[in-house]
Subunit: 299 residues, 3 copies
């Protein structure tokens, strides 16, 4: 399951950061996605940790995709998105696939990686009763630190925050008391706790583990800085248009997220994509700093 | 807890199939229910496995009811339906009772039985906020393979599928990419994976267990063949009438499922009952084939 | 984590009752709250058990607050309410805090205390999609016996009962087949099981533990006697007024519970407070009797 470099880092207690592959396979246009995948690995290394990008190839879970494997996930045809419940089927049918937040978190925790960087969590869909990402329940029982920029604003952010509370997922803002809005620094909602440096995050995770209550993830919400966010007026207008467009054209179910994201991409002249890449890269760096702090290693 | 025949099969690693008793005590008219209970055991044996029908007698959980015990569950007065949360009270108050999907799955897993056959899962009720069967959460944390024909169409099938996804319950169709509609071969919804033979199902369960993510059940959805299903036009008409009748008469809560099933039974001239018995029997046979494959025993 | 008296009781297998501190810090007016906190401890002792009031001081979880510590929680400025997901942050930031039902249950179970007394559980909020207390999920996985008087009538009681069922939380009435309505003996809803003495409650908990299904809490619903309840006509009128007032003034989210409770307090001329204190005290006594029964110690 674990590649050589990751195995060595695990054996020596060196800092590691898990990265997901759905972002690469489905979240970004080609071939930019491959370049970003490499940049995320480089960002983790630059901050003193080992990147462990996770995917499934020929039915084997790979923790620490090498460049050939990363290329196959990034540029392959029809690489399916695998949530945690899909992994056993992908293994038993010897399929390839890209891992989501839920499956990446489950795999990372299984092999002993405690920090994971991504863009945004899955959440509760707007106007779609019962359509709630498997990420939320999985985070409720998987003790990992996940660095993200909140949940995409196309989802129902307050409902997602309520579910995280009901499921006892730990939520903290990084240097903010506001829950970020993915493309925006502030979603308009509060977070219950604020942490100000990587050592504080590592200490909270250590406290969780020592307490032994069976708690799950720390969602560390790391906002894009205000001066790098999408213009809020543009954001709100495009979001309203996108939601109205989806309703008018009867787009529902699994088609709605790609529709809304494509709408954002086009209507912002690619601006939403640049913010997305920026925030993921910043999350990778922060995740590495936390992993370094947790390993007791000077950065 | 475990009867002699089941204990021997467990000790020798022989294939076993769990069967529930709520179907017998509450799902079928008397005395046909007892005949069906015996037929299900015979179907499991004919496919090379040992049946383990589960129930509670005098506060003792019995795994592998013998014919006298089966008769008592089938023909007894006021045998209550026991979900998993009821079992401790039934034990401590020395009650009898019939086990549901949730309690049968919990008990089967506890004693080491990995495959379970039933008719339909519980699910989310239509137009009844928060009324969701305990089956769903329990399956989310109980690693067993449950062979069923979907969920009864009187429930909210798409909401139930969403909940199974949110709870990371594994779902696959048996030789189909459609989620079955209990009395019908196709509910109109898709399944994420298709498995084509018992060995593939056993391999998926083995992969789940080896991965160690704490995943729960595989729901293997086994449709009634199209040429044995209830006539779809009749089905849809009766369903609409039954739902309208329940609304008009103010039937709600725990009374609604028996009302709708009785309506189906009457309005189809007993046809729905025959389909129900047919599909449960087919599920018992398939479950036995999967147990045989998992045990590495030639059928 | 554990104070000396509690440690000794645990070591000798003597009966213990956990008590929460949110009730003290946030549920009752000062300085009456400190007096009630002391009375609850005395009620537990009078019934033959050791009280273990739980709170967090300087980032240390304390099980068995002494009188100085109790005073600090009761009279301190801005003692925050800590649900279970907040405890790791409170520990890592060395904060004080009062524990809720969820965090008290998690801590009590962790140190080996099996019985817990409180007033009312958290639940599902009225007219607030997704606003569900973390108590419910936590009780679904924490095997403890919690003695309460139901859930406050300002919440959505039937939705809360449905969630407890979906989450397989064990629910029984103490000497009643009705779910109590906090200020009232009867909420208008049924409970699935009735237990009639402390030994029966202890036996149900022992059966749950022996079965090994991974079940969570027993919610033992202990109604205020009819002759000590709030006048039902007054209750229903005040509840309707309070809900209408909150809607008219746009009170929502975290502000709604304090608003409704303050309204009750004022509109009943303090009567709701007296019933609240009465029922908590009765729950402490019953919890102690159950702990005594479970420990096999004569009361
Ligand atoms: Mn979904
Ligand atoms: Mn229900
Ligand atoms: Mn809430």
């Amino acid at each position: 399951m674990v590649g050589d470099e990751v195995a060595l880092a695990l054996a020596h207690g060196r800092p590691l950061v898990a990265l997901e592959s759905t972002l690469i396979a489905h979240g970004l246009p080609r071939p930019r996605n491959l370049a970003v995948a490499r940049e995320l690995g480089a960002a983790v290394r630059a901050a003193g940790a080992t990147p462990a990008t996770i995917g499934v190839l020929d039915g084997k879970v790979v923790v620490g995709l090498d460049d050939d494997q990363l290329t196959r996930i990034a540029l392959g045809e029809d690489v399916p998105k695998l949530s945690v419940r899909d992994i056993p089927f992908a293994v038993s049918t010897k399929s390839d696939g890209a891992t989501t937040v839920a499956s990446t978190a489950a795999i990372a925790h299984r092999v002993g990686i405690g920090v994971f960087a991504t863009g945004g969590l899955g959440g509760v869909h707007r106007d779609a009763a019962y359509d709630e990402s498997a990420d939320l329940q999985l985070l409720g029982r998987t003790p990992i630190t996940i660095v993200c920029a909140g949940v995409k604003s196309i989802l129902d952010v307050p409902a997602t925050l309520e579910r995280l509370e009901s499921l006892s997922v730990l939520v903290a803002g990084y240097r903010t008391d506001r829950f970020p809005g993915f493309y925006l620094a502030d979603s308009g909602h509060q977070v219950p706790w604020t942490l100000d440096n990587p050592a504080q995050v590592a200490a909270a995770a250590a406290a969780r583990d020592a307490l032994g209550f069976g708690l799950g993830a720390i969602v560390l919400a790391n906002p894009i800085p205000v001066d790098r966010q999408l213009d809020p007026v543009l954001h709100d207008r495009v979001l309203a248009e996108a939601l109205a467009g989806a309703a008018a054209q009867g787009v529902t179910g699994k088609d709605i997220t790609p529709y809304l994201l494509a709408y954002f991409h086009e209507a912002t002249g690619g601006g939403s994509l640049e913010v997305n890449i920026d925030l993921v890269s910043r999350n990778a760096t922060l995740a590495a700093q936390i992993a370094v702090a947790a390993a007791g290693t000077p950065a």
